[in-house]
Protein backbone atom coordinates (compact mmCIF):
# COMPACT_ATOMS: atom_id res chain seq x y z
CA UNK A 1 0.00 0.00 0.00
CA UNK A 2 2.78 2.40 0.93
CA UNK A 3 4.22 1.41 -2.44
CA UNK A 4 1.47 3.19 -4.29
CA UNK A 5 1.99 6.49 -2.56
CA UNK A 6 3.33 9.23 -4.80
CA UNK A 7 6.41 10.63 -3.12
CA UNK A 8 7.60 12.74 -6.01
CA UNK A 9 8.17 16.41 -5.48
CA UNK A 10 8.91 19.36 -7.69
CA UNK A 11 11.44 21.97 -6.62
CA UNK A 12 10.69 24.32 -9.47
CA UNK A 13 12.14 25.02 -12.92
CA UNK A 14 11.63 21.41 -13.95
CA UNK A 15 13.57 19.84 -11.08
CA UNK A 16 11.40 16.89 -10.17
CA UNK A 17 12.54 14.37 -7.56
CA UNK A 18 11.09 10.90 -7.20
CA UNK A 19 11.56 11.12 -3.44
CA UNK A 20 11.60 14.02 -0.99
CA UNK A 21 14.68 12.56 0.70
CA UNK A 22 17.86 14.27 -0.47
CA UNK A 23 21.34 14.08 0.99
CA UNK A 24 22.86 17.32 2.26
CA UNK A 25 25.98 19.04 1.05
CA UNK A 26 29.19 17.92 2.70
CA UNK A 27 27.78 14.67 3.96
CA UNK A 28 27.82 12.58 0.81
CA UNK A 29 30.94 13.82 -0.96
CA UNK A 30 30.32 13.98 -4.72
CA UNK A 31 28.24 10.83 -4.58
CA UNK A 32 31.09 8.38 -5.10
CA UNK A 33 32.28 7.56 -1.59
CA UNK A 34 29.12 7.02 0.43
CA UNK A 35 28.29 3.36 0.42
CA UNK A 36 25.32 1.67 1.97
CA UNK A 37 22.82 4.33 0.94
CA UNK A 38 20.03 2.99 -1.22
CA UNK A 39 19.94 5.32 -4.23
CA UNK A 40 16.52 4.13 -5.34
CA UNK A 41 15.09 5.89 -2.29
CA UNK A 42 17.06 9.04 -2.91
CA UNK A 43 15.52 12.20 -4.36
CA UNK A 44 18.75 14.02 -5.11
CA UNK A 45 22.37 14.28 -4.12
CA UNK A 46 23.72 17.65 -3.09
CA UNK A 47 27.49 17.75 -3.48
CA UNK A 48 30.19 19.18 -1.25
CA UNK A 49 30.57 22.95 -1.56
CA UNK A 50 32.45 23.70 -4.76
CA UNK A 51 34.61 26.74 -5.43
CA UNK A 52 36.27 28.10 -8.59
CA UNK A 53 39.66 26.60 -7.74
CA UNK A 54 40.61 23.57 -5.67
CA UNK A 55 40.89 24.13 -1.91
CA UNK A 56 42.83 22.21 0.70
CA UNK A 57 40.56 23.03 3.61
CA UNK A 58 41.43 23.84 7.21
CA UNK A 59 44.13 22.34 9.38
CA UNK A 60 43.06 19.60 11.77
CA UNK A 61 41.31 19.27 14.17
CA UNK A 62 38.30 19.72 11.89
CA UNK A 63 35.50 17.94 13.75
CA UNK A 64 34.37 17.40 17.32
CA UNK A 65 31.41 15.64 18.81
CA UNK A 66 29.13 17.54 21.18
CA UNK A 67 25.89 16.39 22.86
CA UNK A 68 23.70 14.89 20.12
CA UNK A 69 25.64 16.87 17.55
CA UNK A 70 28.97 17.54 15.92
CA UNK A 71 30.99 20.61 15.10
CA UNK A 72 32.82 20.86 11.80
CA UNK A 73 35.23 23.31 10.29
CA UNK A 74 36.25 21.57 7.10
CA UNK A 75 36.92 24.79 5.27
CA UNK A 76 35.43 23.85 1.91
CA UNK A 77 38.06 21.32 0.90
CA UNK A 78 37.08 20.53 -2.70
CA UNK A 79 38.68 19.80 -6.05
CA UNK A 80 37.37 22.94 -7.76
CA UNK A 81 34.71 23.37 -10.42
CA UNK A 82 36.86 22.26 -13.36
CA UNK A 83 37.44 18.88 -11.86
CA UNK A 84 33.73 18.61 -11.16
CA UNK A 85 32.86 19.41 -14.77
CA UNK A 86 35.51 17.24 -16.33
CA UNK A 87 35.59 14.20 -14.06
CA UNK A 88 32.36 14.00 -12.09
CA UNK A 89 29.63 15.44 -14.31
CA UNK A 90 30.06 12.85 -17.11
CA UNK A 91 29.51 10.10 -14.56
CA UNK A 92 26.50 11.84 -13.03
CA UNK A 93 24.99 12.13 -16.49
CA UNK A 94 24.63 8.35 -16.47
CA UNK A 95 22.94 8.20 -13.05
CA UNK A 96 19.21 8.19 -12.52
CA UNK A 97 19.40 10.35 -9.40
CA UNK A 98 19.79 14.09 -9.97
CA UNK A 99 22.93 15.77 -8.67
CA UNK A 100 22.76 19.33 -7.37
CA UNK A 101 26.07 21.12 -7.01
CA UNK A 102 26.55 23.15 -3.84
CA UNK A 103 28.35 26.36 -4.82
CA UNK A 104 30.60 28.39 -2.52
CA UNK A 105 33.08 31.20 -2.69
CA UNK A 106 34.49 34.31 -1.09
CA UNK A 107 32.99 36.92 -3.37
CA UNK A 108 30.03 37.32 -5.72
CA UNK A 109 32.38 36.73 -8.63
CA UNK A 110 33.33 33.31 -7.30
CA UNK A 111 29.73 32.16 -7.19
CA UNK A 112 28.99 33.58 -10.60
CA UNK A 113 32.09 31.92 -12.06
CA UNK A 114 31.15 28.51 -10.69
CA UNK A 115 27.52 28.85 -11.79
CA UNK A 116 28.50 29.96 -15.28
CA UNK A 117 30.90 27.05 -15.63
CA UNK A 118 28.20 24.58 -14.57
CA UNK A 119 25.39 25.94 -16.71
CA UNK A 120 24.39 23.60 -19.49
CA UNK A 121 26.77 20.85 -18.37
CA UNK A 122 25.19 17.42 -18.76
CA UNK A 123 24.78 15.62 -15.44
CA UNK A 124 24.12 18.70 -13.37
CA UNK A 125 20.53 18.99 -12.26
CA UNK A 126 20.67 22.16 -10.25
CA UNK A 127 22.66 24.48 -8.03
CA UNK A 128 22.51 25.15 -4.32
CA UNK A 129 24.16 28.42 -3.32
CA UNK A 130 25.91 28.05 -0.01
CA UNK A 131 25.68 31.60 1.30
CA UNK A 132 25.98 30.31 4.81
CA UNK A 133 29.26 28.53 5.40
CA UNK A 134 30.57 29.38 8.84
CA UNK A 135 33.95 27.81 8.23
CA UNK A 136 35.70 30.10 5.80
CA UNK A 137 36.52 33.77 6.03
CA UNK A 138 33.54 35.78 4.73
CA UNK A 139 31.51 32.59 4.50
CA UNK A 140 28.60 33.99 6.42
CA UNK A 141 28.62 37.54 5.13
CA UNK A 142 26.19 36.94 2.27
CA UNK A 143 23.82 34.92 4.38
CA UNK A 144 23.20 37.36 7.18
CA UNK A 145 22.37 40.41 5.09
CA UNK A 146 19.21 40.27 2.96
CA UNK A 147 20.58 42.79 0.48
CA UNK A 148 23.83 40.98 -0.14
CA UNK A 149 22.01 37.66 -0.32
CA UNK A 150 19.72 39.09 -2.97
CA UNK A 151 22.60 40.55 -4.96
CA UNK A 152 24.42 37.25 -4.98
CA UNK A 153 21.30 35.34 -5.97
CA UNK A 154 20.52 37.78 -8.79
CA UNK A 155 24.10 37.60 -10.03
CA UNK A 156 23.97 33.84 -10.28
CA UNK A 157 20.44 33.82 -11.65
CA UNK A 158 21.65 35.95 -14.54
CA UNK A 159 24.15 33.36 -15.72
CA UNK A 160 22.29 30.08 -15.31
CA UNK A 161 19.08 28.42 -16.36
CA UNK A 162 19.60 25.66 -13.82
CA UNK A 163 17.18 25.26 -10.92
CA UNK A 164 18.58 27.41 -8.12
CA UNK A 165 18.29 26.69 -4.41
CA UNK A 166 19.76 29.13 -1.92
CA UNK A 167 20.96 27.63 1.34
CA UNK A 168 20.23 29.93 4.27
CA UNK A 169 22.16 30.37 7.47
CA UNK A 170 20.28 30.23 10.76
CA UNK A 171 22.77 32.57 12.43
CA UNK A 172 20.55 35.59 11.90
CA UNK A 173 17.90 37.56 13.72
CA UNK A 174 15.38 37.21 10.92
CA UNK A 175 15.81 34.31 8.53
CA UNK A 176 12.51 35.09 6.85
CA UNK A 177 13.83 38.45 5.66
CA UNK A 178 16.76 36.72 3.96
CA UNK A 179 14.43 34.10 2.51
CA UNK A 180 12.15 36.77 1.05
CA UNK A 181 15.10 38.63 -0.40
CA UNK A 182 16.47 35.62 -2.28
CA UNK A 183 12.98 34.66 -3.42
CA UNK A 184 12.54 38.10 -4.94
CA UNK A 185 15.99 37.85 -6.50
CA UNK A 186 15.04 34.75 -8.43
CA UNK A 187 15.77 31.71 -6.28
CA UNK A 188 13.66 28.68 -7.15
CA UNK A 189 13.75 27.45 -3.57
CA UNK A 190 15.59 27.77 -0.28
CA UNK A 191 17.37 25.12 1.74
CA UNK A 192 17.09 25.74 5.47
CA UNK A 193 19.34 25.49 7.26
CA UNK A 194 23.10 25.34 7.23
CA UNK A 195 25.00 24.77 10.50
CA UNK A 196 24.88 26.89 13.68
CA UNK A 197 27.99 28.68 14.85
CA UNK A 198 29.42 26.81 17.78
CA UNK A 199 32.56 25.98 19.66
CA UNK A 200 34.19 23.42 21.91
CA UNK A 201 37.15 23.92 24.21
CA UNK A 202 39.62 21.21 25.14
CA UNK A 203 39.93 21.75 28.87
CA UNK A 204 42.98 19.52 29.13
CA UNK A 205 44.94 21.41 26.51
CA UNK A 206 43.26 24.73 27.31
CA UNK A 207 42.52 25.67 23.74
CA UNK A 208 39.66 25.39 21.28
CA UNK A 209 39.23 21.88 19.95
CA UNK A 210 38.91 23.03 16.34
CA UNK A 211 41.89 24.61 14.67
CA UNK A 212 39.72 27.51 13.55
CA UNK A 213 38.33 28.10 17.01
CA UNK A 214 34.71 27.80 15.99
CA UNK A 215 32.75 25.58 13.64
CA UNK A 216 29.29 24.68 12.45
CA UNK A 217 26.95 22.57 14.56
CA UNK A 218 24.89 19.83 12.93
CA UNK A 219 23.00 16.75 14.02
CA UNK A 220 19.93 15.89 16.13
CA UNK A 221 20.63 18.65 18.66
CA UNK A 222 19.72 21.35 16.13
CA UNK A 223 16.53 19.73 14.88
CA UNK A 224 14.10 21.87 16.93
CA UNK A 225 15.89 25.04 15.79
CA UNK A 226 15.91 24.06 12.13
CA UNK A 227 12.29 23.01 12.32
CA UNK A 228 11.30 26.39 13.68
CA UNK A 229 13.17 28.14 10.87
CA UNK A 230 11.43 25.98 8.27
CA UNK A 231 8.04 26.60 9.85
CA UNK A 232 8.55 30.35 9.65
CA UNK A 233 9.94 30.26 6.12
CA UNK A 234 7.22 27.98 4.77
CA UNK A 235 4.59 30.38 6.07
CA UNK A 236 6.24 33.38 4.44
CA UNK A 237 7.61 32.20 1.09
CA UNK A 238 5.96 31.09 -2.11
CA UNK A 239 8.94 29.05 -3.33
CA UNK A 240 9.64 25.58 -1.91
CA UNK A 241 11.55 25.24 1.32
CA UNK A 242 13.88 22.26 1.67
CA UNK A 243 14.24 21.30 5.33
CA UNK A 244 17.68 20.36 6.69
CA UNK A 245 18.93 19.95 10.23
CA UNK A 246 19.14 17.03 12.59
CA UNK A 247 16.91 14.63 10.70
CA UNK A 248 17.65 11.04 11.65
CA UNK A 249 14.29 9.24 11.53
CA UNK A 250 11.15 9.22 9.41
CA UNK A 251 9.36 10.97 12.28
CA UNK A 252 11.95 13.76 12.14
CA UNK A 253 11.48 14.11 8.38
CA UNK A 254 7.71 14.17 8.84
CA UNK A 255 8.04 17.00 11.35
CA UNK A 256 9.69 19.06 8.61
CA UNK A 257 7.15 18.06 5.96
CA UNK A 258 4.30 18.87 8.35
CA UNK A 259 5.98 22.21 9.05
CA UNK A 260 5.75 22.96 5.35
CA UNK A 261 8.99 21.71 3.84
CA UNK A 262 8.65 20.44 0.27
CA UNK A 263 11.55 18.04 0.71
CA UNK A 264 14.23 17.24 3.26
CA UNK A 265 17.96 16.74 3.28
CA UNK A 266 19.77 14.25 5.48
CA UNK A 267 23.16 15.41 6.69
CA UNK A 268 25.05 14.09 9.68
CA UNK A 269 22.95 10.94 9.86
CA UNK A 270 24.59 9.75 6.65
CA UNK A 271 27.80 9.30 8.61
CA UNK A 272 26.08 7.13 11.16
CA UNK A 273 23.40 5.15 9.38
CA UNK A 274 23.92 4.98 5.62
CA UNK A 275 20.64 3.11 5.40
CA UNK A 276 18.74 6.14 6.79
CA UNK A 277 17.80 7.33 3.28
CA UNK A 278 15.85 4.15 2.64
CA UNK A 279 14.31 3.95 6.12
CA UNK A 280 13.14 7.53 6.04
CA UNK A 281 11.76 7.25 2.53
CA UNK A 282 9.76 4.19 3.51
CA UNK A 283 8.62 5.72 6.78
CA UNK A 284 7.23 8.76 4.98
CA UNK A 285 5.43 6.54 2.49
CA UNK A 286 3.91 4.46 5.29
CA UNK A 287 2.73 7.55 7.13
CA UNK A 288 1.10 9.04 4.08
CA UNK A 289 -0.62 5.78 3.33
CA UNK A 290 -1.77 5.35 6.94
CA UNK A 291 -3.19 8.86 7.01
CA UNK A 292 -4.83 8.46 3.63
CA UNK A 293 -3.08 11.52 2.31
CA UNK A 294 -1.98 10.09 -1.07
CA UNK A 295 0.73 12.67 -1.82
CA UNK A 296 3.24 14.90 -0.07
CA UNK A 297 1.39 18.12 -0.84
CA UNK A 298 -1.31 17.18 1.65
CA UNK A 299 1.09 17.08 4.59
CA UNK A 300 1.74 20.67 5.66
CA UNK A 301 -0.20 21.92 8.67
CA UNK A 302 -0.75 25.62 9.17
CA UNK A 303 -4.07 25.94 10.93
CA UNK A 304 -2.52 25.32 14.31
CA UNK A 305 -0.52 28.52 13.94
CA UNK A 306 -0.81 30.43 17.17
CA UNK A 307 0.88 33.73 16.61
CA UNK A 308 2.67 35.43 13.79
CA UNK A 309 5.86 36.27 15.62
CA UNK A 310 6.61 33.92 18.42
Amino acid sequence: MADQVDLSVSLGRGLRLRSPVMVASGTFGYGFDAHGADRTALGAIVTKGTTPGAREGNAPTRIAETPSAMLNAIGLQNPGVDHVVRVYAPKWATWDVPVIVNVAGDAVDDYVAVARRLDGVAGIAGLELNISCPNVANGLQFGVDPRMAAQLTAGVRAVTRLPLLVKLTPNVTDIVAVGRAVEDAGADGVSAINTYLGMAIDVRRRRPVLSRGSGGLSGPAIKPLALHAVWELAAALRIPVVGVGGITTAADALEFLLAGAAAVQLGTVNYVRPQAVREIHDGIAAYIAAHDLRHLGALPIRQARVEAHV
Binding site: G36, P60, I63, S211
Partner: protein, 270 residues
Protein backbone atom coordinates in the same frame (compact mmCIF):
# COMPACT_ATOMS: atom_id res chain seq x y z
CA UNK B 1 34.21 -2.10 -0.66
CA UNK B 2 31.89 -4.55 1.06
CA UNK B 3 30.11 -2.91 3.94
CA UNK B 4 28.62 -4.80 6.82
CA UNK B 5 25.35 -3.25 7.81
CA UNK B 6 23.83 -6.29 9.45
CA UNK B 7 24.33 -6.55 13.19
CA UNK B 8 27.08 -8.73 14.58
CA UNK B 9 26.59 -10.69 17.79
CA UNK B 10 29.04 -10.59 20.66
CA UNK B 11 30.14 -14.15 21.30
CA UNK B 12 32.87 -13.52 23.86
CA UNK B 13 33.98 -10.81 26.24
CA UNK B 14 37.20 -10.89 28.19
CA UNK B 15 39.97 -8.83 29.73
CA UNK B 16 43.13 -9.60 27.78
CA UNK B 17 45.23 -7.24 29.92
CA UNK B 18 44.55 -4.79 32.72
CA UNK B 19 42.23 -1.87 31.81
CA UNK B 20 41.40 -3.40 28.44
CA UNK B 21 38.46 -5.36 27.11
CA UNK B 22 38.27 -7.73 24.19
CA UNK B 23 34.98 -8.28 22.42
CA UNK B 24 34.71 -11.08 19.92
CA UNK B 25 31.84 -10.78 17.47
CA UNK B 26 30.41 -13.24 15.02
CA UNK B 27 30.01 -11.76 11.54
CA UNK B 28 31.26 -14.02 8.74
CA UNK B 29 31.22 -11.50 5.85
CA UNK B 30 33.28 -8.99 7.79
CA UNK B 31 35.64 -11.63 9.12
CA UNK B 32 36.23 -12.79 5.56
CA UNK B 33 36.75 -9.30 4.15
CA UNK B 34 38.89 -7.51 6.71
CA UNK B 35 42.61 -7.00 6.10
CA UNK B 36 45.24 -6.44 8.81
CA UNK B 37 45.18 -2.78 9.85
CA UNK B 38 41.66 -2.06 8.65
CA UNK B 39 39.00 -0.79 11.03
CA UNK B 40 35.28 -0.78 11.63
CA UNK B 41 33.00 2.04 12.68
CA UNK B 42 31.04 0.72 15.64
CA UNK B 43 27.67 2.24 16.50
CA UNK B 44 27.37 3.12 20.19
CA UNK B 45 24.11 3.91 21.98
CA UNK B 46 25.72 5.94 24.74
CA UNK B 47 23.88 8.98 26.12
CA UNK B 48 24.36 12.21 24.11
CA UNK B 49 26.63 10.63 21.49
CA UNK B 50 25.81 10.38 17.81
CA UNK B 51 28.91 9.37 15.87
CA UNK B 52 30.20 5.86 15.41
CA UNK B 53 33.55 5.00 16.97
CA UNK B 54 36.47 3.67 14.91
CA UNK B 55 38.11 0.45 16.13
CA UNK B 56 40.75 -1.67 14.48
CA UNK B 57 40.02 -5.32 14.01
CA UNK B 58 42.56 -6.83 16.43
CA UNK B 59 42.35 -10.08 14.51
CA UNK B 60 39.93 -11.99 12.31
CA UNK B 61 39.14 -15.65 11.94
CA UNK B 62 37.54 -16.06 8.52
CA UNK B 63 36.82 -19.75 9.08
CA UNK B 64 34.99 -19.15 12.35
CA UNK B 65 33.45 -15.92 11.04
CA UNK B 66 34.75 -14.02 14.06
CA UNK B 67 36.51 -10.70 14.66
CA UNK B 68 38.15 -9.41 17.84
CA UNK B 69 38.28 -5.84 19.09
CA UNK B 70 40.55 -4.76 21.93
CA UNK B 71 40.00 -1.41 23.59
CA UNK B 72 40.09 0.60 26.78
CA UNK B 73 37.52 2.95 28.28
CA UNK B 74 38.31 6.59 27.59
CA UNK B 75 34.86 8.13 27.22
CA UNK B 76 31.17 7.58 26.66
CA UNK B 77 31.42 5.39 23.56
CA UNK B 78 34.04 3.01 24.85
CA UNK B 79 32.20 3.00 28.18
CA UNK B 80 29.12 1.74 26.41
CA UNK B 81 31.11 -0.85 24.46
CA UNK B 82 32.67 -2.04 27.70
CA UNK B 83 29.30 -3.22 29.02
CA UNK B 84 28.46 -5.31 25.96
CA UNK B 85 28.28 -8.97 26.79
CA UNK B 86 27.72 -12.29 25.13
CA UNK B 87 24.49 -12.17 23.12
CA UNK B 88 24.38 -8.40 22.69
CA UNK B 89 24.28 -7.03 19.16
CA UNK B 90 26.92 -4.73 17.74
CA UNK B 91 26.33 -2.65 14.62
CA UNK B 92 29.52 -2.67 12.51
CA UNK B 93 30.25 -0.54 9.48
CA UNK B 94 33.23 -1.86 7.59
CA UNK B 95 35.83 -3.09 7.04
CA UNK B 96 37.13 0.39 6.25
CA UNK B 97 40.33 2.08 5.21
CA UNK B 98 43.72 0.85 4.03
CA UNK B 99 45.48 -1.73 6.12
CA UNK B 100 49.22 -2.23 6.34
CA UNK B 101 51.08 -3.20 3.24
CA UNK B 102 52.55 -6.59 4.10
CA UNK B 103 54.46 -7.12 0.83
CA UNK B 104 58.18 -7.74 0.89
CA UNK B 105 60.70 -10.08 2.39
CA UNK B 106 62.57 -7.96 4.86
CA UNK B 107 62.36 -8.55 8.59
CA UNK B 108 59.58 -6.57 10.22
CA UNK B 109 59.55 -4.70 13.47
CA UNK B 110 56.09 -4.09 14.89
CA UNK B 111 55.98 -1.48 17.56
CA UNK B 112 52.97 -0.75 19.76
CA UNK B 113 52.48 1.81 22.48
CA UNK B 114 49.58 1.38 24.91
CA UNK B 115 46.34 0.40 23.25
CA UNK B 116 48.07 0.73 19.88
CA UNK B 117 48.75 -2.95 20.42
CA UNK B 118 45.11 -3.62 19.55
CA UNK B 119 45.80 -3.72 15.84
CA UNK B 120 48.75 -6.14 15.97
CA UNK B 121 47.58 -9.69 16.70
CA UNK B 122 46.12 -9.98 13.20
CA UNK B 123 49.02 -8.12 11.61
CA UNK B 124 51.64 -10.39 13.16
CA UNK B 125 49.67 -13.48 12.25
CA UNK B 126 49.51 -12.37 8.62
CA UNK B 127 53.21 -11.52 8.52
CA UNK B 128 54.15 -14.85 10.07
CA UNK B 129 51.94 -16.60 7.54
CA UNK B 130 53.95 -14.82 4.84
CA UNK B 131 57.07 -16.26 6.47
CA UNK B 132 58.44 -12.87 7.35
CA UNK B 133 60.61 -12.54 10.40
CA UNK B 134 58.74 -10.46 12.99
CA UNK B 135 59.89 -8.71 16.13
CA UNK B 136 56.99 -7.37 18.20
CA UNK B 137 57.89 -4.51 20.53
CA UNK B 138 55.27 -3.86 23.19
CA UNK B 139 55.25 -0.78 25.38
CA UNK B 140 53.01 -0.09 28.36
CA UNK B 141 53.03 1.79 31.61
CA UNK B 142 53.33 -1.35 33.66
CA UNK B 143 53.59 -5.10 33.14
CA UNK B 144 49.93 -5.90 33.81
CA UNK B 145 48.96 -3.65 30.90
CA UNK B 146 50.95 -5.69 28.38
CA UNK B 147 49.06 -7.93 26.01
CA UNK B 148 50.45 -11.45 26.65
CA UNK B 149 53.16 -12.61 24.26
CA UNK B 150 51.17 -15.71 23.28
CA UNK B 151 48.99 -13.41 21.18
CA UNK B 152 51.93 -13.07 18.79
CA UNK B 153 52.83 -16.64 17.96
CA UNK B 154 55.77 -16.87 15.62
CA UNK B 155 57.19 -13.48 16.53
CA UNK B 156 59.98 -12.46 18.90
CA UNK B 157 58.28 -10.41 21.56
CA UNK B 158 60.16 -7.74 23.48
CA UNK B 159 58.53 -5.54 26.08
CA UNK B 160 59.15 -2.14 27.62
CA UNK B 161 57.44 -0.65 30.66
CA UNK B 162 57.60 2.87 32.01
CA UNK B 163 57.95 1.55 35.56
CA UNK B 164 60.37 -1.22 34.71
CA UNK B 165 58.04 -3.93 35.99
CA UNK B 166 58.68 -6.01 32.88
CA UNK B 167 61.26 -6.00 30.10
CA UNK B 168 63.08 -2.86 29.15
CA UNK B 169 62.75 -0.04 31.68
CA UNK B 170 61.69 2.93 29.60
CA UNK B 171 59.80 3.82 26.48
CA UNK B 172 59.17 1.41 23.66
CA UNK B 173 60.87 3.87 21.31
CA UNK B 174 64.07 3.61 23.27
CA UNK B 175 63.71 -0.16 23.30
CA UNK B 176 63.29 0.05 19.55
CA UNK B 177 66.40 2.13 19.06
CA UNK B 178 68.51 -0.39 20.95
CA UNK B 179 66.81 -3.41 19.39
CA UNK B 180 67.21 -2.04 15.94
CA UNK B 181 70.87 -1.35 16.53
CA UNK B 182 71.53 -4.74 18.09
CA UNK B 183 69.52 -7.10 15.98
CA UNK B 184 69.13 -6.20 12.38
CA UNK B 185 70.84 -4.22 9.73
CA UNK B 186 69.68 -0.64 9.84
CA UNK B 187 68.47 -0.35 6.25
CA UNK B 188 66.99 -3.78 6.10
CA UNK B 189 63.76 -3.62 8.17
CA UNK B 190 60.17 -2.62 7.67
CA UNK B 191 58.57 -0.96 10.64
CA UNK B 192 54.85 -1.07 11.40
CA UNK B 193 53.69 0.99 14.32
CA UNK B 194 50.65 2.18 16.21
CA UNK B 195 50.38 4.23 19.37
CA UNK B 196 49.82 7.68 20.82
CA UNK B 197 50.96 10.61 18.69
CA UNK B 198 53.84 11.53 21.06
CA UNK B 199 55.21 8.02 20.68
CA UNK B 200 54.98 8.27 16.90
CA UNK B 201 56.71 11.65 17.01
CA UNK B 202 59.52 10.24 19.11
CA UNK B 203 59.89 7.31 16.74
CA UNK B 204 60.10 9.55 13.69
CA UNK B 205 62.65 11.74 15.48
CA UNK B 206 64.79 8.71 16.32
CA UNK B 207 64.54 7.20 12.89
CA UNK B 208 65.60 10.48 11.36
CA UNK B 209 68.56 10.68 13.71
CA UNK B 210 69.51 7.12 12.82
CA UNK B 211 69.44 8.16 9.20
CA UNK B 212 66.85 5.56 8.30
CA UNK B 213 64.42 6.21 5.45
CA UNK B 214 60.91 7.16 6.62
CA UNK B 215 59.62 5.08 3.69
CA UNK B 216 60.30 1.93 5.66
CA UNK B 217 57.82 2.94 8.37
CA UNK B 218 54.07 2.49 8.23
CA UNK B 219 51.98 4.07 10.98
CA UNK B 220 48.41 3.17 11.89
CA UNK B 221 46.81 6.51 12.76
CA UNK B 222 44.06 6.98 15.32
CA UNK B 223 42.77 10.41 14.32
CA UNK B 224 39.24 11.23 15.48
CA UNK B 225 36.80 10.37 12.72
CA UNK B 226 33.36 11.41 11.58
CA UNK B 227 32.14 9.15 8.82
CA UNK B 228 35.03 6.74 8.30
CA UNK B 229 34.28 6.55 4.57
CA UNK B 230 35.70 9.75 3.08
CA UNK B 231 32.61 11.93 2.91
CA UNK B 232 32.94 14.27 5.90
CA UNK B 233 36.57 15.33 5.29
CA UNK B 234 36.91 15.51 9.05
CA UNK B 235 39.89 13.21 9.55
CA UNK B 236 42.47 15.25 7.68
CA UNK B 237 46.13 14.80 8.51
CA UNK B 238 48.86 17.02 7.10
CA UNK B 239 50.44 15.56 3.99
CA UNK B 240 54.12 15.91 3.31
CA UNK B 241 54.44 18.55 0.61
CA UNK B 242 51.20 20.32 1.53
CA UNK B 243 47.53 19.64 1.74
CA UNK B 244 45.97 16.79 3.61
CA UNK B 245 45.42 13.08 3.60
CA UNK B 246 42.17 11.60 4.84
CA UNK B 247 43.07 9.17 7.52
CA UNK B 248 39.95 7.04 6.93
CA UNK B 249 40.51 6.32 3.24
CA UNK B 250 44.15 7.20 2.61
CA UNK B 251 44.87 5.43 5.93
CA UNK B 252 44.59 4.58 8.73
CA UNK B 253 47.84 2.83 7.79
CA UNK B 254 50.07 5.38 6.07
CA UNK B 255 53.72 5.41 5.08
CA UNK B 256 55.49 7.79 7.44
CA UNK B 257 57.11 9.81 4.66
CA UNK B 258 53.69 10.82 3.38
CA UNK B 259 52.95 12.76 6.59
CA UNK B 260 54.09 16.26 7.48
CA UNK B 261 55.17 15.56 11.04
CA UNK B 262 55.71 19.19 11.90
CA UNK B 263 52.15 20.20 11.13
CA UNK B 264 50.99 16.95 12.72
CA UNK B 265 52.38 18.14 16.04
CA UNK B 266 50.60 21.50 15.77
CA UNK B 267 47.32 19.79 15.20
CA UNK B 268 47.34 16.97 17.66
CA UNK B 269 49.90 17.76 20.27
CA UNK B 270 50.46 21.52 20.52
Amino acid sequence: MSLALAPAVVVQRSTPMRDAIELVVHHPPSAAAVKPGQFFQLAVAAPQTILRRPYSAAWADPQGGRIGFIFNVVGAGSGWLAVRHEGHELDLLGPLGRGFSLEGERPVICMAGGLGVAVFPGVVQALVARKRRVTMLLGARTSSQLLPADRFTGADVLTATDDGSAGYHGSVVNLFTSTLRGRVGVEAVDILTCGPTPMLQALIENVRQLGLPLESIQVALETPMGCGVGTCLGCAIPRAGGGYLLSCIDGPCVRADRIDWGRMTDAFHG
